[in-house]
Symmetry: C2
Subunit: 217 residues, 2 copies
């Protein structure tokens, strides 16, 4: 704690939106514990600046044009494992939270939560404690408590099979598919058989639904 009292906590702000940066700065003007040593609307430039003049905490948006906050976090953590990173985001969806946690985030605050929360988060992070908005925590709990993953077994199709599926979805018949791929119609039939077996479907109808589900088409 003593170090916290003796010297200011150096902050660096990365956010696509200048207004958001200004908002954060406005919030912290009357908080002498914090000192903003830099800001940038471009995460790539921010990365370079942080390398030269390293802050204690980086406040970063997640959804940015040039580079995602997830990527930025990964790169920063690789160079400065002790650097604290506070994610600031509009959304608190499962995937993003999971990815940010894996990247090594120290805190996650939703942009629509109270302003005090930001200060609380920064204070926590400065004394090596994590901080997450309630909504984020709830989402995290939900993820953890989910009875494992629905364990829908991963169906693996070979590259060739995926090609065939795509052509089937484009309404080609077996003969045409054979022509297109320079293989015998018999071979196409074999691939079809294997595909239906693997995907547990018994008609093109089911196959197409599978393909859409798997984002093959």
């Amino acid at each position: 704690m003593s170090s916290v009292l003796n010297k200011k906590i150096k902050l660096y702000i990365v956010d696509d939106h200048q207004i958001m940066i200004d908002g954060i700065k406005a919030l912290l003007t009357n908080k002498p514990a914090f000192e903003i040593i830099g800001e940038n609307t471009n995460p790539i430039n921010a990365l370079e600046e942080i390398k030269k003049n390293t802050p204690d905490i980086v406040i970063s948006d997640i959804n940015m044009k040039e580079m995602s906050g997830i990527e930025l976090t990964k790169q920063l953590k690789e160079i400065f494992p002790d650097l604290k990173i506070l994610a600031l985001s509009m959304f608190g969806d499962k995937e993003t939270i999971s990815e940010m946690l894996e990247a090594g985030i120290n805190g996650y605050v939703l942009k629509n939560t109270g302003t005090d929360e930001l200060v609380t988060a920064l204070t926590k992070l400065s004394i090596n404690q994590p901080f997450f908005s309630d909504e984020v925590t709830t989402e995290m709990m939900r993820v953890i408590s989910t009875p494992k993953t629905p364990q829908k077994e991963i169906i693996h199709l070979t590259p060739r099979e995926i090609e065939i599926v795509k052509l089937i979805s484009e309404e080609y018949n077996n003969a045409k598919i054979g022509d297109k791929l320079f293989i015998s119609e018999r071979t196409v039939e074999t691939h079809r058989k294997n595909i239906f077996r693997k995907t547990n479907t018994k008609s093109v109808a089911g196959l197409i639904k599978f393909a859409i589900d798997q984002k093959i088409i």
Copy 2:
């Protein structure tokens, strides 16, 4: 212009995100031409406050929990047709822009554009001129220049045909469908034929994609 010089332009800020409100306020602190007479993170409450103490310009976010900026704009414009409304949004997608224009928006600024732009927009609006961010303008031009709408003709399937489509999508074959609907397999085939003709598809693959597109399944 004289009125602008003589008295301050009264602003009201509506945004889900307190930080964003603070950012806007910070931006305008050294702009004596503007006076912020109110702010709210809840558009419904904002609507009530604005009714009581009406500003010259309302700066509003578009994507808000309780009520969209589009709805807020409509309601405000109904009561105060001369009230200027400046939309502030993360995104500049076609649909949103169109809807906002229909609602009677006076300006549209993207949150990730420069801070000066906000001041420019407010100034323009105060002298009864519209203002739109370049990105928004570009998108608007694109919408207008688009050769009409792709006019995808509405394909009408009869209730019976829709039933058939559903059953096909569930991997039933013609015989089973006939059994289920108490009709001959031949009749099912006729329906199929007509469905393929109407939907301009030539295999189940295309039909399923059509059905998903049309939200039949």
